[in-house]
Symmetry: C2
Subunit: 338 residues, 2 copies
């Protein structure tokens, strides 16, 4: 007998049973008595180790997507939705802008929708323990983790590539071809997000190859938007700084950069190589085909949901999974012109 | 006093109150008596004209997205989610493949999640009245309608561009430049969907310009996928058929076509013009910038939700809204080579 069976037996929602079991005031005396009587007559034993079965009140799993126009997310959302459905839960999704606060959205959603768990798709990398008090259900950070924060690792789960390492690999490819004047196209250099992490991977690869970083080659777009990436690339070109390659922190930004280079008369890869991280379908159809490190999107979505239900259903503690990106060779990188 | 107030008063869910009011069997006697007693003691009067307030059982609005990797949908999903939230309802989303049955998914979702309304984003254009018996809550077809079906117009709502007219406008642009050998890149010519409608618009524009359609210029990809569009374009080129322009039924397919043309040594628009319908952000960053008729995505999402709540809350009957696409001039069309 589970809390769901009990709810069915009484003809009330799981949330009502949960409120009765947790002695919450917002249940009428008659309903309370009906539920407690069913508990007495059944063999239902609240499973306190699987905390969520008792404390939470529905089969709803929240998905908060931050940065909704991010084309990188659509495949992950699809897989997460499919896996939540397959597990017999209901997905409740909310999409917020990339400047909004996912914790506030998640906390509100948890309260209003009575969630039993949360997947956060995209978010800040610097949570404090105090901020997370607002979230009382198990949650998984998908495609990011808490590198810059103070959150104890045991109180959340995450599934992500190692962003700085992926950036190192991308820039290693450029250095391996002989490039030494490599620009970095990023959103911000200190946003405590993938932009900062991938920028650090870029610096780290340069260091490993004995190349001194040049401030003039840091192209800060201010956002992940294609329009801003396009303008940042045009500014980089207009600055007169010399470069033979661009490492872009995302595919979409790289596509905008290739367009900006072309509009300024520079052909990729003849005049400038471009490499990125993400692996969008679109990147296979731009000209030249983008060389990029592909994140294993479907696998990340599946793993996030698997972890979440392991934690919700008491099968395991929180865990942190690192997945490996795969280099997809296109035609956007070549040795520098002599 | 609304059904929500009543549910709060009794400490049960709206769905439980609804089941009691509708005399459904799946409620325990004690809970039934508690709810009925509250109804007697309160001034609650079931509002039969606003049918959904009584018959439905939650604040959940279902969104069924068919063809999840369709990049055209991400902006609409974002707007629909925001508007549903703003109205104080909960969005429950399900994404299905473009070959899946959205009515089956919607009917199952309605039953399982106790929806009060549905938005179907993408779907078949040929519903029969009988098929729709499975859906008992108000629903809006977003980005499509029931052109090929027998469903009475009063029993559903829709928000869509006029697809055949949009295709006519696109092909008119090509004819206006002097093209007469115009290929049509489509998913299927008789799939009773946008592909068929836009193909008919193509034929209709040719007819209006006195151009006889050539079977050899109908490039059928078999799906809306970029990979299939790429292969269909290569087959068209390999067939030896002469053409100076391609009308593509979607932006994503057009981008794949431009890539295929380039890979076969044909430059756009010098050797071949390409025009499409949709208006993706990506289309502004391909080379050359795609000329396309943009669907007003945000407006379509907003209008769909507005109509749905008007119907759910009894303010209006179902209605059908046609929105106008806007031509975004890129650099992918030019007069044919002499």
């Amino acid at each position: 007998m589970t809390i769901k069976d009990l709810a069915k037996l009484c003809g009330v929602s799981v949330s009502t049973v949960s409120r009765v079991l947790n002695d919450r005031p917002d249940v009428s005396p008659a309903v309370r008595e009906a539920v407690l009587s069913a508990v007495r007559e059944s063999n239902y034993v609240p499973n306190n180790s699987a905390r969520s079965l008792v404390l939470t009140s529905s089969d709803a799993v929240g998905l908060v997507v931050r940065g909704v126009s991010n084309p990188f997310y659509s495949d992950i959302i699809k897989v997460i939705g499919r896996e939540i459905d397959a597990a017999g839960y209901t997905m409740v999704m909310q999409q917020i802008s990339s400047s909004a606060d996912e914790l506030e959205a998640a906390a509100l959603m948890e309260r209003e929708k009575k969630l039993c768990g949360l997947v956060l798709l995209g978010g800040r990398w610097d949570y404090s323990e105090e901020e997370l008090r607002r979230i009382t259900v198990p949650f998984v950070c998908c495609s990011y983790t808490n590198t810059f924060g103070s959150l104890p690792r045991g109180c959340y789960s995450s599934v992500t590539i190692e962003d700085s390492r992926a950036a190192e690999r991308a820039v290693d490819e450029l250095c391996g071809l002989g490039h030494t004047r490599i620009a970095c196209l990023m959103a911000e250099r200190d946003d405590r997000s993938i932009s900062e992490l991938r920028y650090h991977g870029y610096l780290s690869s340069l260091g490993a190859h004995g190349i001194a970083p040049d401030e003039a080659l840091a192209a800060v777009a201010g956002s992940f938007d294609m329009a801003d990436a396009y303008e940042a690339t045009r500014r980089l070109i207009a600055s007169g700084a010399e470069f033979t390659a661009i490492f872009s922190i995302s595919d979409a930004m790289a596509i905008a950069a290739i367009k900006a280079l072309a509009d300024c008369g520079r052909e990729v890869p003849r005049d400038c190589s471009v490499i990125a991280i993400d692996g969008l379908t679109f990147s296979e159809y731009v000209r030249p085909t983008l060389t990029t490190l592909c994140q294993p999107m479907a696998g990340m979505g599946e793993e996030s949901v698997r972890i979440l239900f392991d934690v919700i259903e008491g099968r395991s503690a929180n865990r942190h999974v690192i997945v490996e990106p795969v280099l997809r060779r296109g035609a956007s990188i070549a040795p520098p012109k002599k």
